[in-house]
Symmetry: C2
Subunit: 418 residues, 2 copies
C-alpha cells in the first residue's frame, strides 16, 4: 500500500471521494420534510410539518406485554429469517381491513412490505422504465417524488379540487402523453385524505378514474394509508382496488393506524404482479422485521386496537377543528385552506404572495416549520401554498402555529408580493 491510497486521520476524506455516481444520482433529492424533521427537535420552534400519528395514545404496556410474550414463547422463530411473503398471520388482519373498503382479497394477492414507501419503490421498479411518465395529483406526496426521481421518470401533475383529482384533467394528461408517444408508467394517487391536500376522491370520481385508466391500460398505484383515519362519523370509501383489481396495485400501511416505527405495510395486486413484486422486494430487503410483523398481527384487529383507533380519530378531528378555528381567528384575508374529513393535513393557499417565494425560509424566521407547497410539485406550483399537519400537535401548538403563520404571511406579502 502506498500512502496515497491509505490516507489516515483527518485527511481520510479531505477530497471528494473518487467514486463516480450513477446517472440517476442527479435525481436523488433529500426530502424537505425529513430535513425539517431534524430542525423540529428545537424546542423554540413550533412544527406543523411532520405527518406523525400520535403514538402517545397507544397502550404501551399492552404492546410491551405482547412483544415480551412473542419473544419468550417463540423467540427462536421470531429472531430467525422469515418468509419473503410475510408472516402467516397477517393476511387475515389485512383481509379484514381491505374488506371494509369493499375488496375481497386472497393471500395470493398480498405482499408484506416495510411500509408504503417500499410499496411505491417496488411498484415503480416493476412498472417504470427511465423516461416514462408518472401522473399524480398536484400537489403530491414528497416521498413518492423521491421514488419517481430515483427511477428517472417524469412526473406530470393534475389539479385536485374538493372531490380529489379532476378526472377531466387526468384524461387530458393521458391524451397528451399518448400524442407525444410517451409511455405512462402508472397513475399514482392517494384517494383518502390526500397527503398533502387533505382532500378525498369522491365515490363517483373513483369509478371515473378507474374507468379512464382501465380503458387506456394505465395501471393505478393506489396509496391508501389514511383510509381508516377518517373523522368520527365517516366511513372508508370503496378502494380503487375493489373496483378493478386487475388494473390496480394497492398500498396499505399500519403506520397511521398503529405505529410508523414498526415499518410494516402491504401491497395488494393481481397474483402474477404480486409475485414479481416479491422477487423485486427480496433483492432489496429480504423481508420486514419479523418481530414487528408479529406485534402488528397480535394487536391490530383486537378490541383494544379498535378503541385506540376510535381515540385517534376523535383526537385528529378535534385537532383539525382547533387548527382551522385558529387559522380563521389569526390569518389575514386572502388565505384559503381545505376542510379535511379525516387524515393529518390541511392545504393552505396564499393570495398576494409570489409563488416563487421561500415560504419555509420565511417560516423559520418566525420559528415555525411547515412544508412549503413547492416541495409537492415537480415544476412551479400554481400559487403560493403550504401544508400544515395537525395530527401530532397539542392544541396550544396548533394555536401558536396559526398565530405565527399569520406573521409569516404578512412578512411574505411585504417581501415577496405577487
Amino acid at each position: 500500500m502506498t500512502s496515497a491510497t491509505t490516507p489516515t486521520g483527518k485527511e481520510r476524506f479531505a477530497a471528494e471521494p473518487a467514486m463516480r455516481y450513477a446517472r440517476r444520482e442527479h435525481e436523488f433529492r433529500p426530502s424537505p420534510v425529513r430535513a425539517v424533521f431534524e430542525l423540529a427537535l428545537d424546542p423554540r420552534f413550533v412544527s406543523l410539518a411532520g405527518g406523525n400519528p400520535d403514538t402517545a395514545l397507544l397502550p404501551h404496556e399492552e404492546i410491551a406485554e405482547i412483544s415480551a410474550r412473542l419473544l419468550r414463547d417463540r423467540g427462536a422463530e421470531i429472531l430467525q429469517y422469515g418468509s419473503g411473503a410475510g408472516i402467516a398471520a397477517l393476511p387475515e388482519v389485512i383481509g379484514a381491513l381491505m374488506a371494509a373498503q369493499g375488496a375481497q382479497v386472497s393471500p395470493r394477492e398480498l405482499l408484506i412490505t416495510t411500509g408504503s414507501q417500499m410499496g411505491i419503490d417496488l411498484a415503480t421498479k416493476l412498472l417504470c422504465d427511465p423516461g416514462d411518465v408518472v401522473v399524480a395529483e398536484g400537489p403530491t406526496y414528497v416521498g413518492a417524488m423521491g421514488v419517481f426521481g430515483a427511477y428517472e421518470t417524469e412526473l406530470r401533475q393534475i389539479p385536485v379540487d374538493d372531490d380529489g383529482l379532476v378526472p377531466q384533467a387526468l384524461e387530458e394528461a393521458l391524451d397528451a402523453a399518448q400524442r407525444e408517444g410517451r409511455r405512462v408508467g402508472y397513475l399514482y394517487t392517494i384517494p383518502h385524505h390526500q397527503n398533502p391536500s387533505g382532500t378525498t376522491l369522491s365515490q363517483p370520481r373513483r369509478e371515473q378514474v378507474v374507468e379512464i385508466c382501465a380503458r387506456r391500460g394505465v395501471p393505478i398505484v393506489e396509496d391508501d394509508p389514511y383510509a381508516f383515519v377518517g373523522f368520527p362519523g365517516t366511513e372508508p370509501l370503496a378502494s380503487l382496488y375493489s373496483l378493478n383489481p386487475a388494473g390496480v396495485v394497492h398500498l396499505g400501511s399500519f403506520s397511521k393506524i398503529f405505529s410508523p416505527g414498526m415499518r410494516v405495510g402491504w401491497m395488494a395486486a393481481p397474483p402474477q404482479v404480486r409475485d414479481r413484486l416479491q422477487i423485486a422486494g427480496e433483492s432489496v430487503d429480504i423481508h420486514p422485521s419479523v418481530l414487528a410483523q408479529e406485534i402488528v398481527a397480535a394487536y391490530v384487529g383486537t378490541p383494544s386496537w379498535s378503541e385506540h383507533l376510535g381515540r385517534l380519530r376523535q383526537a385528529y378531528a378535534e385537532r383539525c377543528q382547533g387548527l382551522l378555528d385558529s387559522l380563521a381567528q389569526h390569518v389575514p384575508d386572502g388565505v384559503r385552506w381545505t376542510v379535511p374529513s379525516g387524515g393529518f393535513f390541511t392545504w393552505v393557499t396564499l393570495e398576494g404572495v409570489d409563488p416563487g417565494a421561500d415560504i419555509l425560509g420565511a417560516a423559520i424566521e418566525r420559528e415555525l416549520i411547515v412544508v412549503p407547497g413547492r416541495a409537492c410539485f415537480a415544476g412551479e406550483p400554481p400559487g403560493a401554498c403550504l401544508r400544515l399537519a395537525y395530527s401530532g400537535s397539542s392544541p396550544q401548538a396548533l394555536q401558536e402555529g396559526a398565530r405565527r403563520l399569520a406573521q409569516v404571511i404578512d412578512d411574505l406579502r411585504q417581501a415577496h408580493p405577487a
Copy 2:
C-alpha cells in the same frame, strides 16, 4: 363502469393482467435459496441449503425483557417515525465492532440499513448505471446477483482459491473491461468466510485488492457479515474499509451475530457518499424498525451478547467439523470441499459430473436440499459444484445430509457423467 373493466369472483385474475412491466423485469430472478427455503419445511427433507444462524441459542427471556422495558419506558418514541440516519445509540455499538477490524469510524460515516441486502441495493443504485460491469467472486452470493440484475449490470466473476479472490484475475478482469470501454461500477466482495465458498481473503491479498482498485478508481463494496463468526482461536482480519476508507463502501450486519429477523445492518462510507446513500435509502424504506434498532443497541456489545457470540462460534466450529468428517466418511472419491475457518458454508466440487447437471433436482430426489453451484454464477460454472450450510443443523442432520449427498453424487455420475 363496464363489466369488462370490473371482473368479479374467480374471473378477476383469469387473464394475464394488462400491466406492462419495465425492461428490468426480465432481470428479476427468484432466489433459488428462498425457493428451497419453503421446501425445507417438509420434515422428510434434510436441508443443508439455508444460511441460517442458530437463533435457538439466544437468551430469549433476556431479549423479551429488553423489548418490554423499551416499549414501557419509551413507547411513544419507539413506535413513532425515527430518523433516517438511524437511532442515536447504534454508532457506538457499530464503532466498537469496526474498530476490532482496524477502522476508526465516526458517526458521519455510518448509515443504518434493514440489513446488508439493502446495503447492496443502495450501493448499486448509487454507483451503477445500466450496462456497467460489476466484478465479484465466482461463486458469489445469490442475493447480490438479484440486485446486479435488477439494476441491469453485467456480472463478471473471478476465481477464488484458499486465500480468497485471486488478485491477478481481478487485475485481468479490470484490464479487459477497460480495453472494451466498459465502466466498472464496483468490485463486490465478501472477504470473511465468503458466501458461498467458505474462503477468507488473506491479509496480504486484502492490501493487494485495495491497491489494484484504488489505482484504477474502482470502488469496492465490502460485504462483511461473517467477520465475527470465525471459529474459536481466529480473529477478524483488517477490513478493506480500514485500508482505504475513501474507496470502499463497507456493509455490516447484525443478522449473523444476533438476529436476521430483526433486519438491522449498517453501511460505512465516506461522508459525502454516505449522505447520498441516505437520500437513496429514504425513498426506499424511510428507516429500519425503531424497536429492532433499539433492541440491537441494548443487547449487542453487552457481556451476555459476548457469551452468546462465543457459544455460536463454538457451535459452528463443531458443526463444521461434524459435516466435514461425515463427508470424508460417506462421499466417493473425486469430491473436494473447502475447509472454512469460520462462517456457515463449505463449497463442494464434484469430479465426473456434467457441470450442466441439475444438482438440486437430483438432491430433491433423495430428499436433500442444497444450493446448486450454478445459482452462484452468472454464466456456466467451471465444474459441477454446490454449497452446503452447517450453521443451522443438528449433528444428526449433518451426518444424514452427507450420507444422502453421497447417493446424489452416485446418481449424478450415472445419469450425467462429465
